[in-house]
Amino acid sequence: MEITINGSTTALPQDPRVSLLDFLREGLHLFGTKKGCDQGACGACTVLVDGERILSCLALAVQFEGRDVVTIEGLSAAGTAGGEGLHPLQQAFIGCDGFQCGYCTPGQICSAVGMVAEAKRGSPSHVTADLAAAVTLTRNEIQERMSGNLCRCGAHNGIIDAIQQVLSAEVLS
């Protein structure tokens, strides 16, 4: 019963009640993934499993045997060639002031990474006008797709700005 977290393989917890979130935080002391509501209603616990964003608070850790989990701690290392420094999204969140208290931030960033991947494979959203057309990540689209991540400080504009900035940089390169 093993799971891969940020590239390292580790044993799953014995108690099946342990959520993936609590396993990360209390079991592995990976505190970057945050517990906001533990009810699947705020998005602070968002992590990437096999590249897809999910809520780790509603995930029982034992369900994820053999899966590959990336948390905010794994994102920094993945972000640059040397494995040091920040992921471009992390950098953009700082530059655009895409957070205040910083508590929802890891979830927002992991969610944005997953969101971009979904859009790249053409997954539509609630606000996509034409289900048959290719997806363009307009501001409205990003807002809808990020709506599962609450922010109480009110950094919404900065968060969307940061995501747009990274996306436009990708297009330019």
Binding site: E52, L55, G148
Partner: protein, 328 residues
């Protein structure tokens, strides 16, 4: 969370075997069940993880689609055949929850999600006949904004919260079930039940029954279908009301129509009365209004939800108008 045993099913037979004991529950994405277990509303003694079972989408002989129950909601919403042929289903799924939750939730699990009634959720502080049969219903005279206006009973006024199910009701989907007695199918609209005196029972499934697939029958005019959800914020909120509809208009008259409502009843509400009123008649505003009024004739408001009667009528008229009827 009460302690439980956990097992992962390798196939359908394995799942049925593992879930044979009492107090077993199937676990899909966990987006509802894990929450309910944490609230001690659900206390299964064993969980059988069925996320490894069929998650494919394949054509049926009749020209429909067969969808494995373990398919994730996101995958169903973005499937090219669903987007092209049953857009109402994609739309309904995409209107529900958040992307993270849709990535986790399975099709089978979505069908079996339980009500969001606050009194149902409050295991320690509230009375609820659905959670504790015979204890009473605190919602009847309590907060009832999200509660039923159709088909409720004095025992229970809860609503079924799924968006996807509203589309499935409109499309006339078929549920494939594997039970102790073998495989069977049933019309989707017969899966969920009205509360009556036994609101603790959400569906007609027997203990141990496993939903294995959803079948979408061929419905060519479903290419002209839509889902409109009305809620208290722009996204990531349960429906106050929602309307799923498919409309076929020929020479200004309704050749065929499918309508279902969400947020109004203990089950996804297939609006058969409105459909019957519309079929063969003019596809225009007055006809839509009349059909909506006929469907809502028996609506019973509670303290906080009387507005839904007018809201669902207006939403239906708007959706039908968008689908090609002329709104006068």
């Amino acid at each position: 969370m009460t302690p439980f045993r956990f097992a992962r099913a390798a196939d359908t037979a394995d799942a049925l075997r593992l879930a044979a004991g009492p107090a077993s529950a199937y676990l899909g994405g966990g987006t509802n069940l894990v929450d309910l277990m944490r609230e001690t509303v659900a206390t299964p003694g064993s969980l059988v993880d069925v996320t490894g079972l069929s998650n494919t989408v394949s054509p049926t002989e009749s020209g429909g689609l067969l969808i494995g129950a373990a398919l994730r909601n996101t995958a169903l919403a973005e499937h090219p055949a669903v987007r092209a042929r049953y857009p109402v289903l994609s739309r309904a799924i995409l209107a529900g929850a958040s992307a993270q939750i849709r990535n986790m939730a399975t099709v089978g699990g979505n069908l079996l999600q339980r009500t969001r009634c606050a009194y149902f959720y409050d295991a320690e502080g509230a009375r609820c006949n659905k959670r504790a049969p015979g204890s009473g219903c605190d919602a009847l005279e309590g907060f009832s904004r999200y509660h039923a206006i159709l088909g409720a009973s004095p025992a229970c006024v809860a609503t079924q919260p799924s968006d996807m199910c509203v589309a499935l009701a409109a499309l006339g989907a078929i549920v494939h079930v594997q039970g102790a007695g073998g495989a069977r199918t049933l019309p989707f609209t017969e899966l969920h039940r009205l509360p009556g005196d036994t609101p603790e029972i959400d569906t007609v499934l027997a203990p141990g029954d496993l939903i294995t697939a959803i079948e979408l029958p061929p419905l060519p005019f479903a290419t002209n279908s839509a889902y409109r959800k009305v809620r208290d914020r722009a996204s990531y909120a349960f429906a106050l009301v929602s309307v799923a509809a498919a409309l076929e208009v020929e020479d200004g008259r309704v050749r065929d129509v499918r309508i279902a409502f969400g947020g109004v009843a203990h089950k996804p509400w297939r609006a058969l009365t409105a459909e019957a009123a519309l079929r063969g008649g003019p596809a225009d505003g007055p006809a839509f209004h009349a059909a909506a009024a006929a469907e809502l004739a028996d609506a019973q408001p509670l303290r906080d939800n009387g507005f839904k009667i007018e809201l669902v009528k207006r939403t239906l008229v708007a959706v039908l108008g968008d689908l090609g009827g002329a709104v006068a």
